[in-house]
Amino acid sequence: MNHWIIAPVVLPALLAPLIAYVMRYDIALQRVASITGAVLLCAIAFGLFMLSADGSVHVYRLGHWPAPFGIVLVLDRLSALLILLTSVLGLIVVIHSAASGWDQRGRHFHALMQFQLMGICGAFLTGDAFNLFVLFEILLIASYALTIHGGGKARLKAGLQYVIMNLAGSSLFLIALGTIYATTGTLNIADLSLKVREIPVEEAGLVRVAAMLLMIVFGVKAALFPVQFWLPGTYAMAPAPVAALFAIMTKVGAYAILRMHTIVFGPDAAPIGSLSQDWLMPAALITIAVGAIGVMGARRLMPLIAFSVLGSTATLMLAISGFSPHTTATALYYLVHSTFAAAAMFLIADLLLSRREGGDLLKAVPATVQNGFIAALFFAGAIAIAGMPPLSGFLGKLLVLDALRFADYAWLVWAVVLAGSLLTIVGFVRAGSVLFWKSTSAELMPPEEDTPDEVTPPANRIGPALAAPSVASLACLALLTVFAGPVMRHMESTAAQLYDPGDYVAAVLEDQHDTKKLKEEEH
C-alpha cells in the first residue's frame, strides 16, 4: 500500500490549521507556508501522476479495512490527472493572491485555500460515494468562506445565493445516496459497479432515479442548465483569485459525472442504458446557449467572463455526454484547457480591473489600463476561452466536434457549439475594444503612458510576481497546444481505463490480502 496516495489530502489538511492558528498574525509566514505547501502538492501530484501513468490502479485502504466496508482512496489515471491539474492551479492562484494582496483583504485566506485544495483532491481520490459527499462538503464550506472573502454588499448577497443553492444540492446528494444504498446495499464505487449491473432491468426504477438525482447534484456543481443560475453571480462577485480557483470546482462536478456515470451507471449497465446521455446532452447544449447569450448581454467584465466559463464548462459536459472512450478522451483534453483558460481569464481580469477606473463596467472611461502587456494577456486569454486558433481552445473544440460527428443530433451539436463560439468571440471583441481602445478617446493619452490619477494604489507597472500566474496559466495552454499529440494519447488511455472498470473493481475488491480479517460484518 502506497502511503503517498493520501498525501494530497493530508498535506493541506495539516497545513491549513497551522496557517490559521500558528501563523495567524504573520502574513509573510502564511504566504511562505501556503506557497511551499502548494509546491509540495504539485510535486506529490506529479509523482502520483507518474505512478498511475502505466495504467495500474492503486488503492489506499484507510485503517486497512477490507474494501466494501472500509473507505478506500483509489488512484487511477483520471484521478491522478485531476490532482495534478488542481495542484498546478492551486500554486498559480496562491502566488497570484499573495502578489496582488487579495490575501490581506480578509482573514484566513491561505488556510481556507488549503482546505479547499484538500477537499478537491479528496473528492478526486475517494472510491466511496458517501466519502465523496463528505469531501464535497469540505470543499464547499471552504468555498463559501472564500466566495465572501473581502466582504462587501454584493459579494455577500451572491455568496448567500451560492450557499443556499449548494445546501439544497447537498440534501439532494444525500437523498440520492440513500436511494442507492436502499437499492444496492453498498456505497463503495467499485462494489456499486458490480451491484448495479446485477439488478434486473424491470426492477431498476429506483436505481435510475438515484442515477438521475446524482446527475442533478453534479450538474449543480458543474453549472448545467437548469441549475446553472448560481455560477455567473458567484464567479462575478467572488475575489478574482478565488474565481480562478473555482475554475476547477465546476470540473469536480464533471469529474463526478465521469466517474459515477461510467463505472457505476455506465452505458453498459443494463438498468441505466443511455439514460445519462439522453439528459446530459440537451442540458449541455442549452447551457452553451445560455453562456453565449450571457456573454453577449453582459454589461460588466466579470459576469462576461463568468458566462464564458459557463459556456466552456458546458462544452466539456457536451463532450462527456458522448459517453464513449473517444469522446471522453476529448472531454478530458478540453477539461484541462477549460480550467486553465478560465483561471487565466479571471487572473488577467484582476490585473486589469485593479488598475481601471470605473470597475468592471463595460463603458468607456478615462484611460487607465492602456498597458500593452495587460492588453496582450487579455487578447491571449480571450482567444483561449473563445476557442480560436492557435491556442488549445481551438484544438479542444475541434476534437470535441470531431468526436461527436457520428452522435445523434450531430448537426445540432455542431450548430450550437459553433454559434456559441462565435457569440463568445463577438462578446470578447466588444469588451476588449471598450476596455483598451475606446477608453483612450476620452482623454488623449499616449497608449503606453502610466496615468498619475489612478484610483487604486498599485502602480500601473506589473511586477514579475504579479504577472507570473497569468503568464503561467497561458503558458500551460500553450504547452497543451504544442504537446497536443502526446497529451491526447494519454487522455485516450485514461478514457479507456474509465470504460473498462474491470481493473478498478479488481484492484479495490479482489486484491486485499493485506487487510484486517473481519470477525463480524461491521467495522
Binding site: E137, L156, L167, I175, G178, E522
Partner: protein, 115 residues
C-alpha cells in the same frame, strides 16, 4: 410505521422546498433546515425500518437493524448542522451589509465588486 415515516419525509420536504423558494433569507434558512431534516430521516430509513432490534450483529442476535445508515445519518446531521450555522452567519452578514434580507441579486448591482 412506514406510512408515518413516509408522510413525515414528504411533508418536511414539501415544506422545505416551499420555504426555499421564498425571497427572504429567514424562510429560506428554515426551508433548508426542514429539507435537511427530511433528508436525514430518509437516509435513516434507507437501511429499512426495524423496531426494537440491535444495530450491531452479535453472536446471539437473530436479527439486527442495519447500522450503516445510522452512521451515515450521524455524519449528515453534523454536516448539515455546521452548514446551517455557516448559512445563518452569511445571511446575517448580507443582512447587515445590505439592510435587507432579500435573497435575489438585482440585475444592475449598485456594488462595484470593490476590486
Amino acid at each position: 410505521m412506514e406510512l408515518v415515516v413516509a408522510t413525515s419525509i414528504g411533508g418536511l420536504t414539501a415544506a422545505g422546498i416551499y420555504l426555499i423558494l421564498r425571497l427572504r433569507a429567514f424562510p429560506v434558512i428554515l426551508g433548508v433546515t426542514l429539507l435537511s431534516y427530511a433528508t436525514n430521516v430518509f437516509v435513516f430509513a434507507s437501511g429499512r425500518l426495524a423496531v426494537g432490534l440491535p444495530p450491531v450483529l452479535t453472536d446471539d442476535a437473530t436479527a439486527y437493524t442495519d447500522p450503516l445508515p445510522q452512521a451515515l445519518v450521524l455524519t449528515a446531521i453534523v454536516i448539515s448542522f455546521g452548514m446551517t450555522a455557516v448559512l445563518v452567519l452569511i445571511a446575517l452578514g448580507a443582512f447587515l451589509e445590505n439592510g435587507n434580507d432579500r435573497v435575489n441579486v438585482e440585475d444592475e448591482r449598485a456594488g462595484e465588486g470593490d476590486a
